[in-house]
C-alpha cells in the first residue's frame, strides 16, 4: 500500500531539516552526536516494532544490537569484509536471533517474559567476555576508506544514518498501516479477543520480533563502524537496552515519531551534559535517562507524542474533526430501520438435518471441580439459543471450550460433522465461529472502522478487501453513520455493537455472544436485541449467554439450562421458566417446593 503524501511529507521535511542542520555542524564531536541521535532513534524504532505495538516489553534488545555490532566488527577484522556487506548480514543475524529468542520466550507470561528478555543480553555478555573479546578495535583502512565505510568527515556518517532512519520510518509506517500493525495492536489490546477474531497471535509476534531484531542488528553494526571500538558493555549492557526503551517510551509508544522525538530530545541532552560535566559528574548520562524514564512513567505513561496529541485534540472544536454524516438537527439518528424486538417470536419450523454445531459429551474439570459435565447440545442453523443457569453453572467455560481457549477432558465439538477439538481459536474463527467477550477492550484512539477491520483479516486477502468486509459488518449492526468516530467517544451500547461488528467481519456462520447486553438500560438492550434478531434472520446461528432474562426470553428460540456444569433441561422459554427443576436451580429447593400451588 503506497503511503499517502500526507504521511510522507513530515518525513521529508524532517529529513531535509536534519540534513541541513547537520551539514552546518563543523565540530567533530557534535557531528558524532548528530549521528548518534539517529542511531538511537533507529534502535528505538526497532524496539517499538516489537514492544510498542504488541505491548510485550523487551528489556533485552541489546542482544540484537550487540550481535549486529560484533558481527560487523569481527567480520571486518577476521574476514576483511566490507561493512556494506556486513551490515545486511548483521541484519539477518539480528532477525534470526529475534526468531530464536521469540519462539520459546513468547510462551512466557508477563513477568517471566520480561525477566527472560533481560537475561539474554547479559548472558551473551558473559560469554563474549569469556571468549576474550574485551575490547575490539576496527583497523583503520587508509587505502580504501569508502569500501570500509571510514570517512574523515563525520557528516557523511550522519547522512548514512539519516538514510537508515528514513528507511526505518517508511518501513514502520508501512507496518503501522497494514494488517501487520493492526494485528499487533489487536494483540496488545486483548490477546484473547484477537485470537478469537482469527489472528494467529504467535505468528504475528514472531514476525514482529524478527523484524525488530533485524533492524536492531543493522543499526548495531553501523554503531560499531561509527565508533570503531566495541566493548561488551557498550553494546550488550543494560544501559543499551534501557536506552532503546527510554527514547521510545519518552517520545511515544506505538507510533513512528515517538522514538524520533525521544532521541532528538534525550540524546543531545545526555551527550552535552556528558561532555560539559562528564569529568566532574561521570555517569550524568545515566542519571538523565533514569529521570526521563521516571517522569515519563508517572506523568505521561504513553509518551510525549500521545500526551500532546490528546491535548491538541481536546482543544480543537468538534466541528473540525472528521466529518460525520449527521442529520440536520445535529443529533445522530437512531439506529436506522430496525424493527423493535417482537415479543414471543413465532417458533420457526426447521428441519432437524440442519444442525450446524453439535456438542457431544463435553467435559472439563479444574482440579477437583467439574466445571462442565458431559454436556451435549445441538445448534440448529439460523436459530438463537440461550445458555442460562445460576452463577458458576459453567456457561463461560462452555464457550471457552467451543471457542478453542480450553481443551476439554472428554467429548467432541462437531462443526458440519468435523470434530474441532484441539484447534486453536484463530483456526475456529476461520472455520466460522465468531465470539464477543464480556469485557470489551477497544482501541480507544482509533475509529470504529479501525477497530472492526481487525476481525476481517482472517477472511480478506488484501487490506482493501478487509476494509470492505469491515464496512459491511458495521452496516449490519447499524453503525455506518458514525464509522469514523473514535471508540473512546462511544456509548456502552455503541461499543457493544462495535464488538458485534468485529465478530461479524470474519463472516461467521456461528456467533457466540458472551453477555452482550450487560450494562445496557432497557431501551438500549431492546435495540441490541433487535440487531441480533436481524442477524439471525440473515442466516447467522447464534448462541448467547446472558443474565438479563427480560431480554433473553423475547430473543431466543430455545434455552439450554446449565446447573453445576451439567445440562438441566432444554426447551422453549415458556416451558423452561416455569419448570420446577429450573426454578429450584435458581431460587432454591424450598422456593420451588413452596411455589407448587
Amino acid at each position: 500500500m503506497m503511503p499517502s503524501f500526507r504521511s510522507l511529507a513530515p518525513v521529508l521535511v524532517f529529513a531535509i531539516l536534519y540534513a541541513a542542520v547537520s551539514l552546518s555542524v563543523t565540530n567533530s564531536y557534535y557531528q558524532l552526536v548528530m549521528t548518534l541521535v539517529l542511531v538511537w532513534a533507529v534502535f528505538g524504532l526497532s524496539w517499538n516494532i516489537l514492544s510498542g505495538y504488541t505491548g510485550l516489553i523487551s528489556f533485552g534488545h541489546a542482544a540484537f544490537f550487540g550481535i549486529g555490532a560484533y558481527t560487523t566488527a569481527l567480520g571486518q577484522i577476521y574476514f576483511d569484509l566490507s561493512p556494506w556487506l556486513l551490515i545486511p548480514i548483521a541484519a539477518m543475524l539480528g532477525g534470526l536471533a529475534g526468531l530464536l529468542v521469540g519462539f520459546p520466550t513468547f510462551r512466557l507470561q508477563g513477568h517471566y517474559f520480561a525477566l527472560a528478555m533481560l537475561a539474554y543480553p547479559l548472558a551473551i555478555l558473559y560469554v563474549v567476555e569469556w571468549l576474550g573479546f574485551q575490547e575490539v578495535t576496527l583497523p583503520i583502512k587508509r587505502e580504501n576508506p569508502f569500501a570500509y565505510m571510514q570517512f574523515s568527515d563525520g557528516r557523511i556518517y550522519t547522512m548514512l544514518a539519516l538514510a537508515m532512519l528514513i528507511g526505518t520510518i517508511l518501513l514502520t509506517q508501512w507496518v503501522e498501516r497494514s494488517r501487520f500493525g493492526m494485528a499487533l495492536l489487536a494483540i496488545k489490546q486483548n490477546e484473547a479477543a484477537a485470537e478469537a477474531a482469527g489472528i494467529n497471535t504467535l505468528v504475528w509476534k514472531l514476525r514482529a520480533i524478527t523484524l525488530s531484531g533485524a533492524i536492531a542488528g543493522a543499526i548495531g553494526g553501523f554503531y560499531a563502524i561509527v565508533l570503531l571500538v566495541v566493548t561488551p558493555q557498550s553494546v550488550f549492557g543494560m544501559l543499551v537496552s534501557a536506552q532503546a526503551l527510554t527514547v521510545a517510551m519518552f517520545g511515544g509508544v506505538g507510533t513512528v515519531w515517538g522514538p524520533v522525538i525521544g532521541a532528538v530530545i534525550l540524546i543531545p541532552l545526555a551527550e552535552t551534559l556528558n561532555a560539559e560535566a562528564g569529568t566532574r559528574f561521570p555517569g550524568i548520562q545515566g542519571v538523565i535517562f533514569g529521570l526521563a524514564i521516571i517522569s515519563v512513567i508517572l506523568i505521561a505513561p504513553e509518551g510525549l507524542f500521545w500526551k500532546v496529541r490528546d491535548f491538541l485534540r481536546k482543544r480543537r472544536p468538534t466541528s473540525q474533526l472528521e466529518p460525520e454524516k449527521t442529520s440536520p438537527a445535529g443529533v445522530a439518528p437512531p439506529i436506522a430501520a430496525i424493527a423493535p424486538a417482537t415479543a414471543g417470536a413465532p417458533a420457526k419450523v426447521i428441519p432437524p438435518e440442519d444442525i450446524i454445531l453439535e456438542v457431544r459429551g463435553l467435559s472439563r474439570s479444574f482440579g477437583g471441580l467439574k466445571a462442565v459435565q458431559d454436556v451435549s447440545l445441538q445448534l440448529r442453523k439460523h436459530a438463537i439459543l440461550g445458555i442460562i443457569g445460576p452463577n458458576g453453572a459453567g456457561k463461560t467455560t462452555l464457550f471457552n471450550l467451543l471457542n478453542g481457549f480450553l481443551l476439554p477432558d472428554a467429548g467432541e465439538v462437531l462443526i458440519d460433522g468435523h470434530n474441532m477439538v484441539g484447534r486453536k481459536p484463530h483456526e475456529l474463527c476461520e472455520a466460522g465461529i465468531g465470539r464477543t467477550f464480556q469485557i470489551m477492550r477497544p482501541f480507544l484512539r482509533m475509529s470504529i472502522s479501525d477497530n472492526v477491520v481487525v476481525g476481517a483479516y482472517v477472511r480478506a486477502k488484501t487490506d482493501l478487501e478487509a476494509r470492505k468486509l469491515a464496512e459491511g459488518a458495521i452496516a449490519r449492526v447499524g453503525l455506518s453513520t458514525i464509522t469514523h468516530r473514535m471508540a473512546g467517544e462511544l456509548t456502552t451500547k455503541e461499543l457493544r455493537l462495535m464488538e458485534l461488528a468485529r465478530a461479524l467481519a470474519s463472516q461467521p456462520r456461528i456467533l457466540l455472544l458472551d453477555e452482550t447486553l450487560a450494562g445496557l438500560g432497557h431501551g438500549e438492550a431492546d435495540e441490541v436485541v433487535g440487531v441480533i434478531q436481524r442477524l439471525a434472520k440473515e442466516g447467522v446461528t447464534i448462541a448467547i449467554i446472558e443474565h438479563t432474562m427480560q431480554s433473553m426470553v423475547r430473543l431466543v428460540d430455545s434455552f439450554v439450562v446449565l446447573d453445576h456444569g451439567a445440562v438441566l433441561m432444554e426447551g422453549e422459554p415458556e416451558a423452561v421458566t416455569r419448570d420446577m427443576r429450573v426454578i429450584e436451580a435458581y431460587l432454591g429447593k424450598k422456593w420451588a417446593a413452596h411455589a407448587q400451588h
Binding site: 445460576p390 452463577n391 461499543l495 450494562g519 438479563t548 423452561v576 421458566t577 431460587l587 424450598k590 417446593a593
Partner: protein, 235 residues
C-alpha cells in the same frame, strides 16, 4: 445501623447498580436476593470500599462510610464474608482467624470470641493448624465466617455463602448461621441466590434485579409474590 441511599456504581464503562436504597436496623437480619448480574456482589464491594460508587451515599452508625478508607471500615465494625470464601490459602486456620482479629475490638475480645467461634464451628478447632487452602469448600466457608466473627463485628455481611457448595452443606452452614445469630444477636446482611432459605430467617428482604431494587418486604409478602420468580427467570 446501615443506610444506603440512591447508590449507583459500576466498572469502567458498565453501570451495575442504579439508584439503590437499602436500610438495615440494628439487630435485624436483612436478606438481598436476585439473579446473577443484578449487582449484589457489587453492592457489598461498594460497602467495603473496593468499588467506588458514582452516586449516592452509605451511612454506618451515622458516619459517612464513603469518606473512610477501605481498610479502616472493618475497624468500624463491618465484617465482610466475601463471595467465594477468599480464605488466606497459605495461612493456617488459626492464622486466618488471627488476621480476622486485626481490629481493635477483635484484639480486645479475642479470648471470648475464639472460644465461641470454636463452639459454633467445631471443625475449625479440630483443624486449627491445617493450611486453609487444603480445606474443603464447606470448611472454608465456615472459616470465612469465623474470620468475620473474629473481628468482633457489629454488622456481619455474607455474600452468597451457599455458592459452589452441595445443598446439604449449604443447609448446614445456614443452620449454624441462624444459631450464631440467635446466641449473639448480631446484625446480619445476607446476599443469597436461594431465595426461600434466605427469606425464611430474615426480618426483611430486598429483591435486586438489573441493578435496581424491584421488590421489598418480609418473608410472607415476598413468598407469595410471583414477581420474585419473574425477576430471576424473565417471564
Amino acid at each position: 445501623m446501615l443506610s444506603i441511599d440512591k447508590l449507583s456504581a459500576g466498572y469502567s464503562a458498565i453501570p451495575v447498580l442504579k439508584d439503590v436504597s437499602i436500610k438495615v436496623e440494628a439487630g435485624q437480619f436483612v436478606a438481598i436476593v436476585g439473579p446473577n448480574g443484578a449487582g449484589k456482589t457489587t453492592l457489598f464491594k461498594t460497602i467495603s470500599g473496593t468499588v467506588r460508587p458514582s452516586a449516592g451515599s452509605i451511612t454506618f452508625e451515622g458516619a459517612d462510610l464513603l469518606s473512610i478508607q477501605p481498610s479502616r471500615r472493618a475497624h468500624l465494625g463491618i465484617a465482610h464474608v466475601p463471595e467465594g470464601r477468599q480464605v488466606f490459602a497459605s495461612l493456617t486456620v488459626m492464622e486466618n482467624l488471627e488476621v480476622g482479629a486485626t481490629t481493635a475490638a477483635g484484639q480486645r475480645n479475642w479470648k471470648q470470641n475464639i472460644e465461641r467461634i470454636f463452639e459454633w464451628l467445631p471443625v475449625l478447632a479440630e483443624r486449627r493448624e491445617q493450611l486453609a487452602g487444603t480445606l474443603s469448600g464447606g470448611q472454608q466457608q465456615m472459616l470465612s465466617i469465623g474470620r468475620g466473627l473474629a473481628s468482633s463485628p457489629k454488622l456481619l455481611m455474607l455474600d452468597e455463602p451457599s455458592m459452589g457448595l452441595a445443598p446439604a452443606i449449604a443447609d448446614f452452614i445456614f443452620d449454624r448461621l441462624i444459631e450464631i445469630r440467635r446466641q449473639s444477636g448480631l446484625t446480619i446482611l445476607l446476599v443469597e441466590q436461594r431465595v426461600a432459605e434466605a427469606l425464611e430467617s430474615a426480618d426483611h428482604g430486598y429483591v435486586l434485579e438489573a441493578g435496581r431494587v424491584v421488590l421489598e418486604g418480609n418473608n410472607q409478602t415476598l413468598r407469595a409474590d410471583d414477581r420474585v420468580r419473574r425477576a430471576y427467570l424473565g417471564m
